[in-house]
């Protein structure tokens, strides 16, 4: 294996790193760093996507440290697309003094995502996790003038570093018990031995780190502040790209690495393993996320708690524990990410025009900008699971996969909980839409009615994302068939 070949196989990541460096230097040199840097970053991301498409489809280097598989390529592309939309969103923010640094951080976080998705080895995964985490901590705290942003960054950092420590500790246990860090090697080792307490501790501790990343209860406490306080593009990226990659890695770890220790989460047939652990996380997330979201009056906080609930739904796919469940979970997390980037896009515009993101800031949006209101309706209703939007198909797919797994509908309890959760969630999503469509604008009373002015780029982004949500709901086959084909 020559270095040249390694560089070739790692070229998508390399392209993004180079782009990050270029954007940094543009930030130093140019006066209009945001526009120029944003353009370069966008182009870099697109080039990276193209390189992924040009690479061979199957390759494994260094015992899984760098893996190129259809699944990895597909989700690298999805992460890059999400990064692209995040970069577009940064253009709407008030010109920051450090535009170059901010864009570079987005790109470095994207590299972290790509490493996470494209690796089947615990150490490499941990490195990806840390690269992603450190970039995101800074991104969350980037708005120095805003106290909430600093709070978001600090909270995210404290919780994140603690959970990273857990994960690393868990990995060390697993290494100690199995003598391997590659997922495939761990799997073969686990298949020969029974699950011992020490190993169980290792597995649970490893899962904790990911439960934090996907904001599953009870490891979700950072989410409300990060979603509410962080600059809008950062929050969008934390909610979308970071989540998608974490779910992909979590899936790889449990389905490839820990597959012999699956256990069962059936109602009368609980067997120890990772499956009941994830089932417990899912159930708790659905209950806590939905109930607490009911009491929110800030749209971003509401999205944060609903994110907890959605993490719970997605985990149901993992609990199902088969190929179909994995595919359903990946589909769901992808459409969720697309939806949230769009929703944050709308929030960003409303925030810029009205100075806040409470329900009252959204009231009367339908009369100020029908397009934004319509897009918001699409995003919220998709999250609530109303057909014909993508969220509905995602839920159907997840729940049917969960019922298919195991005899006698053993996971019906989890499905029922998920359905009750989505019933509750409709109420608070409708509250947002009530503000948008029904309530009269409160702004009209305080200051002269101003129409939401947003430049073409923002409107186009939000509209494209809304169209994507509708399209993936009507023609889900486009994405599901690709995901199913990519899963071995």
């Amino acid at each position: 294996m020559s270095y040249l070949e390694l560089l070739k196989l790692a070229s998508p990541e390399a392209v993004v790193v180079l782009t990050a460096l270029m954007v940094l230097s543009i930030g130093l040199l140019s006066k209009r760093a945001m526009a120029a840097g944003g353009f370069v970053a966008g182009v870099g991301v697109i080039i990276s996507i193209v390189t992924i498409l040009l690479l061979p489809t199957n390759e494994t280097l260094f015992g899984g440290m760098l893996v190129i598989s259809p699944l990895a390529s597909l989700f690298k592309i999805i992460c890059l697309v999400l990064a692209f939309f995040t970069i577009v969103l940064t253009q709407t923010e008030k010109a920051s003094r450090h535009a170059g640094e901010y864009l570079a951080l987005v790109l470095l976080a994207t590299v972290g995502l790509m490493l996470l998705v494209g690796s089947e080895e615990l150490l490499m995964i941990f490195i990806g996790l840390e690269l992603l985490g450190l970039s995101l901590y800074v991104m969350a705290a980037f708005d120095k003038a805003d106290l909430r942003s600093a709070e978001a960054g600090l909270k995210y950092f404290l919780f994140g570093s603690t959970s990273s420590a857990f994960t690393l500790f868990g990995i060390s246990f697993i290494y100690g018990m199995t003598g391997a860090t590659g997922l495939a090697a761990i799997s073969t080792k686990l298949a020969t031995t029974s699950v011992q307490p020490l190993l169980a501790v290792g597995i649970v501790m490893t899962l904790v780190g990911f439960a934090f990343k996907i904001a599953a209860a009870p490891f979700h406490l950072w989410a409300p502040d990060a979603y509410q306080g962080a600059p809008v593009p950062s929050a969008a990226f934390i909610a979308s790209g970071s989540k998608v990659a974490s779910f992909v890695v979590l899936g790889k770890i449990v389905f490839i690495g820990f597959s012999p220790a699956q256990g069962s989460a059936g109602w009368h047939a609980m067997v120890a393993g990772w499956s009941p652990v994830l089932a417990a996380l899912a159930a708790l997330s659905i209950v806590i996320g939905n109930l607490v979201a009911l009491a929110q009056s800030n749209v971003r906080r509401l999205l944060a708690y609903s994110a907890v609930a959605h993490a719970g739904y997605t985990l149901i796919g993992f609990v199902a524990g088969d190929r179909e469940g994995f595919s359903a979970a990946l589909f769901y997390t992808t459409i969720y990410a697309v939806t949230l980037v769009g929703a944050f896009g709308v929030v960003g515009i409303v925030r810029r025009e009205t100075g806040g993101d409470n329900f009252s800031n959204f009231s009367g949006l339908a009369s100020r900008s029908p397009l934004l209101a319509g897009c918001m309706a699409v995003f919220m209703l998709s999250l609530a699971g109303i057909p014909p939007l993508a969220g509905f198909f995602g839920k159907f797919y997840l729940f049917s996969a969960a019922l298919h797994a195991g005899a006698n509908q053993a996971l019906l309890w989890l499905v029922a909980l998920g359905l009750i959760g989505s019933f509750v969630s409709l109420y608070y999503y409708l509250l947002v839409l009530k503000a948008v469509f029904v309530d009269a604008s409160l702004l009209a009373a305080t200051r002269p009615m101003e129409r939401v002015r947003s430049d073409f780029l923002q409107r186009a982004t939000v509209a494209v994302l809304a169209a994507a949500v509708v399209f993936l709901g009507v023609m889900p086959n486009v994405l599901t068939s690709r995901i199913l084909a990519a899963i071995p």
Partner: protein, 490 residues
């Protein structure tokens, strides 16, 4: 061809988003008339023997990995329901001719509801049916919350949450049928033998979920509140068509897929149905708001539909389908008279206040409409309500003789509250003074005359209920064979 009702309606809805408001009501009218023409042509052209089976119209693979197809089919039952949807939709637009506020949006939501209803009645794929079924929920919320009256936000939220609550049970039932039966195709699933143990719990879950939308007692309370809060067009569609989605799907999906479960639970459905008939009629007797009276009467009439299902014989079930058609027309007529003709002019629906206006002198046409509507609603022979209810009761006589006695008592109560509402609203005592109790002065000459669109809409509905009442064979010939092929009868 009838599949085009769905595309035309949704196409019209999308068109409304892009065209200026000057065209809004005309587009809505053309769209709904187009739908009705498609229904009528199919009704005339399709030979009756073809309607005995759920015949496929379109079948395109949708998500092959999950076995989903875009699959539409038609039989006598769905044709009847599609027809009533078409008729109601057109008259609804006529009665919404005066909507000025956010017009495009109003007709957009309206057409979404109509299109969703067409979709449910024609779906032959379980997933597709559920997509259309849930698609109807959200437009209802906006129709009521934006354009409604009296406590509209509360009514809208209550109605939406109840619908979604029922939808949750339906979701579970559909998933179970899908996972156990291995298919989403209704025709295939209706051949599949589900285990009795599964049917015994899956049937009530699925049927109850649908029945919430049909206004089954005791989960009916969303109906009066929602109907009273909705704009006229909303109440007409909700009571007329949307409630039928629940009963139709209960018949098509729950009863047809889980016949043994249905056998186990049919007694309890009959109990709930009869209770609903009597209870809702008794409550209607005490209402002060005219729309609440009609709202409760809808619950009472839907009780007859459920009773017809519970008989589990061809006659009772066909009567129930006929009642769905008949009530679709009558409820639309009643709400049109109460919401559009009266409320838009008097700005009150309080029966006490109305009784002092003696509206029959002021608005003779409205009075005529309301008299016809109430007569049909009470089950006077010659109107569709009589034909339907008598068929149901004859069918029920074989299975639940006691239920027939109680339901018969319910009919008396229905007559009582209907006559009370009729007398108080139109034939109250005239006060020569303009001053009425609630403090507002009233100059009756100020009432606008009944407009042409209102007259057309009302005449359409009256003619329909009259035609079906005089010649119910027109529909029963098409419904009966389709019902007889259903599995739960065998």
């Amino acid at each position: 061809m009838i599949a085009w009702t769905i595309y035309v309606t949704f196409g019209g809805a999308i068109l409304l988003l892009f065209l200026p408001r000057a065209y809004a009501r005309w587009i809505a009218l053309l769209t709904t008339i187009g739908g009705l023409i498609l229904c009528l042509v199919t009704f005339v052209q399709t030979p009756i023997p073809d309607l005995a089976h759920f015949t496929t119209l379109v079948r395109v693979p949708w998500v092959p990995a999950l076995g989903m197809n875009y699959h539409l089919a038609l039989d006598g039952i769905s044709l009847t329901m599609v027809l009533v949807t078409g008729i109601s939709a057109v008259s609804t637009v006529f009665f919404s001719w005066d909507v000025e506020h956010r017009q495009n949006e109003f007709f957009f939501w309206l057409l979404l509801v109509v299109g969703g209803c067409y979709g449910v009645f024609l779906s032959a794929d379980l997933f597709l049916l559920f997509v259309f079924y849930e698609l109807v929920i959200v437009p209802k919320y906006f129709l009521i919350a934006i354009f409604g009256s009296t406590n509209k936000e509360y009514g809208a939220m209550k109605l939406t949450l109840y619908s979604f609550f029922g939808g949750m049970f339906v979701f579970v039932g559909i998933l179970v049928a899908y996972v156990a039966g291995g298919s989403l195709d209704l025709n295939q699933l209706s051949q599949f033998e589900f285990s009795p143990q599964l049917q015994s719990w899956a049937f009530p879950v699925l049927f109850l979920g649908f029945a919430v939308l049909a206004g089954i007692w005791p989960l009916h309370t969303w109906a009066p509140t929602g109907h009273a809060a909705a704009p006229t067009a909303g109440s007409m569609l909700l009571a007329g068509i949307v409630m039928k989605l629940g009963s139709y799907a209960g018949l098509r999906v729950a009863m047809n897929l889980f016949p043994e479960g249905f056998q186990m639970w049919s007694k309890w459905i009959a109990v709930l149905a009869v209770t609903g008939i009597v209870y809702a009629a008794a409550v209607a007797l005490r209402q002060r708001d005219l729309k609440f009276v009609i709202g409760y009467s809808s619950v009472s009439h839907m009780g007859f539909v459920l009773l017809g299902f519970a008989t589990a014989n061809a006659l009772g079930t066909s009567g129930a389908v006929l009642q769905m058609f008949s009530h679709g027309v009558i409820a639309a007529l009643l709400f049109a008279a109460a919401g559009r003709m009266i409320y838009r002019r008097t700005h009150t629906r309080e029966l006490d206040a109305l009784s002092e206006m003696n509206l029959s002198h002021v608005m003779p046409f409205a009075a005529f409409t309301f008299v016809i509507a109430t007569a049909a609603s009470m089950g006077i022979p010659g109107f569709s309500g009589f034909a339907a209810e008598i068929t149901i009761l004859i069918g029920a006589w074989k299975t639940f003789p006691i239920g027939v006695w109680i339901a018969g008592g319910g009919i008396v109560l229905v007559a009582a509250f209907t006559l009370r509402a009729l007398k108080l609203s139109f034939f109250g005592e005239e006060r020569t003074e303009g001053k009425i109790k609630n403090g507002t002065t009233l100059n009756r000459e100020q009432f606008d005359p009944i407009t042409i669109p209102e007259k057309i809409g009302a005449c359409m509905l009256m003619l329909t209920t009259f035609a079906v009442g005089v010649y119910p064979k027109l529909l029963l010939d098409r419904i009966m064979p389709a019902v007889e092929t259903m599995r739960f009868l065998r």
